[in-house]
Amino acid sequence: MSRRYLLDFFIIIFFVFAPWWLCAAALIYGAFAFPSYYEFLFFSVLYDLVYGPSSWGVHNPIALTLGGAVVFLLIQLLKSNFNLHEKKFTR
């Protein structure tokens, strides 16, 4: 569990100071490594709320929320099919 908190701490740091893709990479790792990693969805939404445009213009203001939700579901599907979580990553 402490590993999960440590990762959450680093994600907060990445969220504020690092390029977006570093934060995304850490979240994807977390989604694979921990059960029910809902931080993934939380940070996707927070990113769009803080950094995304507030209205639909040239850019989709919920691009990362949408992408994050799809990736999150795919990871859950992969994990349940390959049983990765139970075999390797549970702490």
């Binding site: 390029p19 969805l41 927070l46 709320l49 445009p53 507030s54």
Partner: protein, 292 residues
């Protein structure tokens, strides 16, 4: 016969009602009108972290510089680098102004006031009192949306649509959202953003499309004369340089050629900008020290 692994496989969890309930909540937050409120709240919560982070980085730099016993040299070097960047930008801008000045003189015999922001080493001064200096909290290189966040907001009378310039008077973008103490700036060079510019010595009116990281793409007929280094200026009341022609590409017998433009400003290293507010004031411009 199935392997024990497949027999013991857990029921897939990805469709659990919990996940979908949370996903529904997530979309309700970001899609609804409440987004404006939640967005303001989120920025309000994250702002202190930015400030603490910037302070921490500055403190760490000072601490390390103190040990090296050449802090003065570092500081001077930093100031000179900022000045050199500004001068480089201005040199480009000067050509635009000179060309325009000649055109105006020949057509109207009208004298135009200087619009340069004035700077002295280590000091950055906006050109007018309506302009306000701002520190970049989030650089476009960090953001997925190629936007940036600056540390001025409603409290500084910044409004939506205000133009944002570098201190070398290169136009960068406009303010898209204003929060109590911060604002979001959408860059003209953000992907897919299209804008009308005046290109080259002939002042051709073309549409330049943002391509990210301070670059733009425009398309022109093959027979139109354009050279590398020609300026693209924004067609507005205040003449503002946007980018320079970096590369011209013509493919075979195609009737059109592709023009690649690049802003003279390095967005990755930019730390200060100024916002040209739509307010009238008689005050003198407030200058900034080029330190934290």
């Amino acid at each position: 016969m199935k392997s024990p692994y497949l027999q013991n496989r857990n029921t897939p969890k990805w469709y659990r009602s919990w996940t979908f309930a949370i996903l529904a909540l997530v979309f309700a937050i970001v899609m609804s009108p409440a987004r404006i409120v939640t967005s303001r709240l989120a920025v309000l919560v994250v702002s202190p972290v930015w400030n603490v982070g910037q302070f921490a980085v500055h403190s760490a730099e000072s601490f390390v510089a103190g040990f090296k016993s050449n802090q003065a040299l570092l500081s001077e070097n930093r100031t000179l680098q900022t000045d050199a960047d500004l001068l480089r930008e201005r040199l480009r801008y000067l050509d635009v102004l000179q060309g325009e000045n000649n055109d105006l003189k020949s057509l109207l015999s009208r004298k135009r006031d200087t619009i340069f922001s004035s700077t002295t080493p280590g000091r950055l001064c906006p050109p007018t009192a309506s302009a306000i200096g701002a520190k970049i909290l989030l650089s476009p290189a960090q953001s997925y949306y190629a936007s940036m966040l600056v540390d001025v907001g409603e409290g500084d009378e910044v409004g939506r649509g205000d133009a944002v310039y570098s201190f070398g008077d290169i136009v960068l973008g406009t303010v898209s959202d204003v929060y109590p103490s911060t604002s979001r700036v959408v860059l003209y060079s953000a992907p897919k953003v299209s804008m009308s510019v005046s290109l080259g010595k002939a002042h051709l009116s073309v549409s330049a499309v943002g391509d990210g990281d301070g670059t733009f793409i425009a398309t022109l007929p093959k027979n139109v004369s354009i050279e590398v280094g020609d300026e693209a200026t924004v067609q507005a009341e205040k003449p503002a340089l946007l980018a320079l022609v970096e590369q011209i590409q013509t493919k075979g017998d195609a009737a059109f050629k592709t023009i690649y433009l690049k802003s003279p400003v390095s967005l990755r290293t930019l730390t200060w900008v100024y916002v040209d507010r739509q307010i009238s004031t008689d005050k003198t411009p407030t200058c900034l020290d080029d330190t934290y």
